[in-house]
């Protein structure tokens, strides 16, 4: 079946354009894109009334709590949240209980995902068994079973020899690894970024230098092994020169950042608000500004939600004891619109980081308007204002830092492989 989206504001991250036009899909793929008044024929015509059409978001690093903690998030709830948030592909994390570190668990997860989630789900697997940093996982089998990348998530592999072997082995299989750049000794026990705010509030803190040390070590290992590497989150100005140099030297390295680190800073924690406790901790405003610039310039490739569901019990605790992480699938787009409305990033720049670059990094054909690319698309209104009410989230967990925040930007419809999986009421 053909569907024509007319009167659309097309956000094309590949061309870097934001222009009026139409887009035609045929079956599950994009078949033509154009401007001008001459429209192709289609079985169904959708008048976008000037609203934006963009490639669906590809979100690297989503935690769905299956297996182990289904009460926090299931594939059904995460899938619904993703569809409503304009995320057409979720790339899931293996930091479940137990960790996804063997092909059998991965197959279980893939089956659950296919049954229950209306969006594409691509699983990542652990890099080391149990994410314990001692022995590498069966990277080959896991890759054959569909793992798109290998990561121990926020567990840093302390033993550099183990990590170098895992990198070398992954390299031989052409597997992508994702790491959390952090010096684990310095960051142990930290709940905030060291500085005036942490000192005032008496919170155990980590120096931003720990991130630079982490990325420095990892870069040396990338140089040694030639592995394809993605840093899950780069959040401090001090880590950027190393990243820039590594890219200039031709290493296969990319980096991401969570939407929270782009739109919030350490002061938002205010009176020990645990919904603002994330990992790594929120940074200073200077760091936030430097990271926005890095995204604009393309030094940081990917923006993700770092969706981490936590139940009320694990958040309603003193700040130091509370769990880290925030849900983000449904707030990624409206939060990203803050950066658009503040003039920090254009819509094509945002979708380059939220759709095109993550798709490219994973070797997916989506994330762009190319002919033959999967028709994973979203229609959204970047201006529509609303007040966030966390009880309306589709995620089972409601731990969003944007509760009661004034936001702008809402997804109107989401299409996966040409099928409408979400329509705003």
């Amino acid at each position: 079946m053909t569907i024509l989206f007319k009167n659309a504001r097309l956000i094309d991250p590949e061309a870097g354009t934001d222009s009026e036009g139409w887009l035609l899909i045929d079956g599950g793929t994009i078949s033509a894109v154009g401007g001008g008044s001459e429209l192709p024929k289609a079985a169904q015509v959708i008048d976008c009334q000037g609203k934006c059409v963009a490639p669906g978001i590809v979100d690297i690093g989503v935690k769905v709590c299956e297996p182990g903690e289904r009460h926090k998030e299931s594939y059904r709830s995460a899938g619904a949240a993703a569809a409503a948030g304009g995320v057409t592909t979720i790339v899931t994390r293996p930091d479940t209980a137990p960790a996804i570190d063997n092909p059998e668990t991965l197959e279980f997860v893939a089956r659950r995902a296919n049954e229950d989630a209306p969006v594409n789900v691509l699983p990542m697997a652990a890099l080391t068994k149990g994410r314990e940093g001692r022995e590498m996982t069966e990277i080959g089998f896991l890759k054959d079973a569909g793992a798109v990348a290998f990561t121990d998530c926020d567990h840093v592999v302390r033993d550099t020899k183990v990590l170098s072997r895992a990198f070398a082995y992954a390299r031989s299989l052409g597997a992508l690894v994702m790491c959390h750049p952090q010096e684990p000794g310095l960051s142990a026990g930290a709940a905030a970024t060291s500085g005036k705010f942490a000192s005032l509030k008496g919170l155990p803190a980590v120096t931003p230098m720990a991130e630079r040390m982490g990325i420095d070590r990892d870069i040396a290992l990338i140089e040694m092994t030639g592995v394809s590497y993605h840093a899950d989150q780069i959040t401090t100005a001090r880590a950027l020169p190393a990243l820039e140099r590594a890219k200039r030297n031709g290493l296969d390295i990319t980096a991401g950042v969570s939407i929270h680190h782009l739109t919030l800073n350490e002061l938002d924690v205010a009176n020990y608000r645990t919904f603002f406790k994330v990992k790594p901790p929120l940074r200073s405003e200077d760091d936030r500004q430097a990271i926005i610039t890095a995204v604009r310039e393309g030094l940081i490739d990917v923006i993700c939600s770092m969706h981490t569901p936590q139940d009320e019990e694990s958040k309603r605790l003193p700040f130091e004891e509370a769990a880290s992480g925030a849900v983000g699938l449904e707030t990624l787009l409206p939060a990203a619109m803050r950066l658009y409305h503040s003039g920090d990033l254009s819509l094509p720049q945002l979708f380059r980081a939220m759709a095109l670059n993550p798709a490219k990094r994973l070797g997916l054909a989506s994330g762009r308007f190319a002919e033959g690319a999967p028709a994973d698309l979203i229609v959204f209104d970047p201006d529509l204002p609303f007040v966030m009410d966390r009880s309306t989230l589709r995620s089972k967990s409601k731990n969003t830092p944007f509760d009661e925040a004034r936001m702008q930007g809402k997804v109107l419809a989401t299409y996966v492989d040409g099928e409408c999986v979400y329509e705003a009421s």
């Binding site: 060291s194 500085g195 005036k196 942490a198 000192s199 005032l200 509030k201 008496g202 919170l203 803190a205 120096t207 009176n271 020990y272 019990e313 309603r316 605790l317 003193p318 700040f319 130091e320 004891e321």
Partner: protein, 316 residues
């Protein structure tokens, strides 16, 4: 009288006139406490609950005595031994307690911000008796009262706070209070025990005692926790005493009439020389304990007053 707060969670939200109001009232209670009959009825009929999630003999005794002298019904709950061990969360404990309708809740907790969290969930007036490394407001207030009585004023003094600043809620509350009252504050300690960017709080930072103590009016020593003595933060107890322990030689750099303070309990021979601690001409450590009861009486009376003003039917 301007004190209008419903809780005493820290020094940070207080204004200089709030602080003066507490200290002025506390002065009156010092007199009461020195009489034969040490009793007032201003808290009669009210229930005060002391919840200590961290061991404390001195602070708990001080709060208990303060409440009893004002006529409150005082109950102590040793939280370490009770439900925490059974996995009950802080909020559940608070809600349970709240259902018993206490009027004043005195809380000490090992984590920064825990007392704030509790205060959001209960209907009574909450007094922070120390949360993690965040604040210990009544300690700062009793220190202020001690200084004001010894020096005749609480402004334009040069005050040195020495030792483990990083892990000290006493230091934070004192920096806040003494800063608000426009004193000159010096922090002295090894860099491993200094919080990051502490200079941003308008204090001068020294890592040398002789230099830092030069010409100060008040020397405030902090307790060095046992678990921080070995290797991690400082090389050894004896090297710490040598470089940062207060002895007569180091104290000579301060003004001749400088007073010596310590929040207790002291580690004699670690952060302070025993003789100095006992020197009645220099040490005001015993006065600090005395002022503690008076300041806590004053703080509780002011909070109870505001509570009555806000909900007269509850207190009828």
């Amino acid at each position: 009288m301007t004190f209008s707060h419903s809780h005493l969670l820290g020094i940070e939200p207080l204004t200089p006139s709030d602080i003066t109001a507490i200290l002025d009232l506390a002065d009156q209670y010092v007199e009461l406490n020195r009489r034969d009959v040490k009793h007032s009825n201003v808290l009669a009929g009210l229930t005060q609950v002391n919840m200590f999630f961290e061991n404390s003999t001195r602070t708990q005794a001080s709060f208990e005595l303060a409440g009893k002298r004002l006529g409150a019904d005082v109950m102590n709950m040793a939280m370490q031994a009770s439900s925490i061990k059974k996995g009950e969360t802080l909020i559940d404990t608070a809600m349970t307690l709240n259902a018993m309708h206490p009027d004043l809740l005195v809380v000490r907790h090992p984590h920064s911000g825990a007392v704030d969290l509790l205060a959001q969930k209960v209907n009574c007036a909450v007094l922070n008796a120390g949360d993690g490394r965040h604040e210990h407001p009544t300690q700062a207030l009793l220190d202020a009262l001690t200084i004001r009585r010894a020096k005749g004023r609480l402004h334009r003094l040069s005050i040195a706070i020495c030792g483990d600043i990083a892990h000290s809620r006493v230091a934070r509350s004192n920096i806040m209070l003494l800063g608000k009252m426009e004193n000159r504050i010096r922090l002295i300690g090894p860099p491993t025990l200094m919080p990051s960017e502490i200079g941003a709080f308008g204090v001068e930072v020294y890592d040398d005692m002789a230099e830092g103590l030069n010409d100060v009016d008040v020397v405030m020593m902090l307790r060095l926790q046992k678990e921080r003595m070995d290797g991690g933060f400082i090389p050894s107890e004896r090297e710490y005493y040598h470089r940062y322990g207060l002895d007569a030689l180091k104290l000579n750099h301060a003004k001749n009439d400088a007073i010596v303070m310590h929040p207790g309990p002291m580690n004699r021979g670690v952060e302070i020389d025993g003789e100095i601690a006992d020197d009645i001409n220099r040490s005001v450590i015993q006065e600090q304990v005395e002022m503690g009861v008076a300041v806590r009486m004053a703080a509780m009376e002011l909070l109870a007053r505001n509570r009555r003003a806000k909900s007269p039917e509850v207190m009828a």
